[in-house]
Amino acid sequence: MNTVPVNHPPIHVLNEVESRKILKEYAVPHNKSAFAKTKEETIQEADKMEFPVVLKVVSPLIVHKSDFGGVQINLQNIQEVEEAFDLIYENAKKRGVVSNGIEGVIVQEMIEGKEEILVGIKRDPIFGPVLVVGLGGVFVELLKDVSLGIAPLEENEILNMLKKLKAYPLLNGYRGKEKLDIDALVQLCKKVVDMAIREDGILEMDLNPVILREEGKGAIAVDARIVLQEK
């Protein structure tokens, strides 16, 4: 049967820092980002970036980090970064996660765009890596509007996958809106597919979201989660 046996091998979920290392290796576009263990390091890293920036908590104890204020966005200057750092630690403490349960924070440049896209990988036990794309939010979650393709995939096949999405017109100039950078999204997907073919330990992956901007301005992953199959 086309299913993972009940006793499938244990999985290992990489945090965002670890996941981004793999993205970098395969040149999958992602926003500027740095890991910092202390407030001082956080300020140093933020200083090297273009504002606004985002802070995200990194902790093996926290999976849904935005649910309780573990993500602080739209920070305009160093002072706001300092405040946000303290707030994240306070919020964690309220949930019973003390500071030694937190590894640190990720500082990253905040990317604005027109649509949020889910780009994912699922390794099918029979057919191998499968690329999954859909528009973020309700389109994926509520309407299950996703398109799948079995690797390997060429650019034209990825474009056809996007065209099959019910929400595709939103990317392609619906009702006089600007056309978005579909070509960049296709290129990003292609890199993701090639990465999944090479890295056969990757069981699942979410780039959620990939920020898609206007035509010519790119597609950039701003969050990443990779699930490895433990060998």
Binding site: M1, N2, T3, V4, P5, V6, I11, V13, L118, G120, I121, K122, D124, P125, I126, F127, G128, V130, V132, G134, V140, E141, K144, V146, S147, L148, G149, I150, E157, K164, L203, E204, M205, D206, N208, R225, V227
Partner: protein, 477 residues
């Protein structure tokens, strides 16, 4: 690779068209081994038959052998119908004898757990050492009308351009028996069971190169080597039409908690992606499989051809129009000439009833069916029309005339229609009454003799046309 392919072709040639067959487990009785042999004799197989059963001297008029080793001639194919526990020994003997291919009917291997998988592996190893291939185990047999292989009563003796491979014995049965009634002609139907040696990719590769086969039907539950299967499916679907019914669509064993992607992408969606990527046609029921196979066999794509609909039943006509839109079919806009001609016949009603055409039962039956014939000719000659669906609701026609005779006359009218640029598709509707069913069946066979496919419902006929018309839009895949 060349050698592997040759071997594959030789072994499957031997499976479908053997010069000699050993039936291991043949008997004089009514069980599977006896039936297999009886059907082989009744279906006109003209090669050598060697029954093997140590308990019998003569089986159904043929000398019986205690073991396949005792047969003093070459054996192309062996059908193995013995209890699971003796199958491994029988396989060893077949391999040593130099049999090209065995089909193991016996069940009780990996599908039952326990030792089954290990026994299967041992059999495969033995077979490979002797270049013998295995079909099955756990299957029902092989049907091939041109060689006389058959596994059920009620099978057609006419060969067609469709081959069918089934992982379920029951569905293989359905294809032979229901296919025959429906007017679908197969050249091969094979039940492949657990696929321990020859698997889906092998059958696809063989059939992709098979000159008799233009259409391949598949019932699949599971695939072992996904990558090989994809390659074989791509190759086959680029040369032939491949229609796949996938069983086990709702399996949810691989739900993921670790990622969003894992949750939104189900297993069957991966199969759907595969169908899209390879150009295979997917169906979700046995009925739809039969509809699609019949349509592929009997309806030819007509470039930019549109649909005309004619028959009795005002409401049915309205619903037919609605359904066209659902299955992406466009009704033809008839030429002025056609509209005028229909008007002159008294059918078009001042141009309002041109397409779809509602011809009440009394009109269909008028002039001994000649009015219907004239309407059909006008539609067939209109260059906009590529597909004519004509539908008879049989019971209302009975009110006006002798049903059997008028239906025959209407069908005879169709003989003179030029069908080079137009397809004819019939729908015979009725209420299920046994007396009407007899007439319907006769009518269907008359239509079949003119190579016109018959469907039970207008929606079915339109769905069939849609498969053909919309396939040709995609560029012949």
């Amino acid at each position: 690779m060349e050698n592997t392919l040759t071997l594959l072709q030789e072994s499957l040639d031997a499976a479908f068209k053997p010069k000699s067959i050993a039936i291991i487990g043949a008997s004089n009785g009514a069980r599977l081994g006896g039936t297999e042999m009886r059907l082989l004799l009744e279906s006109g197989y003209d090669g050598q038959i060697y029954p093997v059963n140590p308990k019998e001297e003569i089986i159904q008029g043929h000398k019986s052998y205690a073991s396949i080793r005792d047969i003093p001639h070459e054996v192309d194919r062996a059908s193995v119908i013995v209890p699971a526990k003796v199958v491994p020994q029988v396989i060893k003997e077949c391999a040593e004898k130099g049999v090209k291919v065995v089909q193991i009917y016996s069940a009780g291997f990996s599908e039952m757990g326990g030792d089954g998988e290990r026994l299967e592996q041992e059999m495969v190893t033995t077979a490979r050492e002797h270049n013998m291939r295995i079909i099955g185990p756990n299957c029902i047999g092989t049907y091939c009308p041109s060689s006389g292989l058959n596994f059920t009563k009620g099978a057609s003796t006419i060969s067609g351009n469709i081959a069918f491979v089934s992982q379920s014995g029951g569905i293989a049965f359905d294809m032979v028996s229901r296919g025959h009634i429906t007017g679908i002609h197969f050249n091969k139907i094979i039940s492949v069971g657990n696929c321990i040696d020859l698997d889906h990719a092998d059958y696809l590769e063989y059939l992709a190169d098979d000159e008799e086969t233009e259409i391949i039907g598949f019932y699949i539950e599971s695939v072992k080597n996904g990558k090989r299967f994809i390659d074989a499916l791509k190759k086959a679907a680029s040369k032939k039409k491949v229609v796949i019914l996938k069983g086990g669509r709702t399996a949810t064993g691989s739900q993921s908690v670790a990622s969003h992607t894992g949750n939104v992408a189900g297993d069957y969606q991966v199969w759907e992606a595969l169908f899209d990527q390879t150009g295979a046609i997917s169906v979700k029921s046995i009925d739809k499989m039969l509809t699609v196979l019949l349509s592929l066999q009997k309806i030819s794509p007509i470039e930019s051809g549109k649909v005309a609909i004619v028959g009795n039943g005002g409401g049915a006509t309205v619903l037919a129009t609605d359904y066209c839109e659902e299955v992406n079919l466009e009704l033809a806009e008839l030429s002025n000439l056609s509209a005028t001609s229909l008007d002159q016949l008294g059918v078009a009603d001042g141009g309002r009833n041109t397409n779809p055409i509602d011809m009440p039962a009394n009109q269909l039956a008028a002039e001994e069916g000649r009015l219907f014939g004239s309407v059909m000719k006008i539609l067939a000659e209109d260059s906009e029309v590529g597909y004519i669906l004509f539908h008879f609701n049989l019971v209302p026609i009975m009110n006006y005339m002798d049903l059997e005779s008028i239906v025959q006359k209407m069908i005879t009218e169709l003989e003179s229609i030029d069908r080079t640029k137009t397809n004819l598709v019939a729908v015979l509707r009725y209420n299920g009454e046994p007396e009407v069913e007899k007439i319907r069946y006769k009518a269907m066979k008359l239509l079949e003799s003119q190579e016109i496919p018959t469907f039970k419902a207008i929606e079915e006929g339109l769905a069939g046309i849609s498969v053909i018309a919309n396939q040709s839009l995609k560029g012949g895949r």
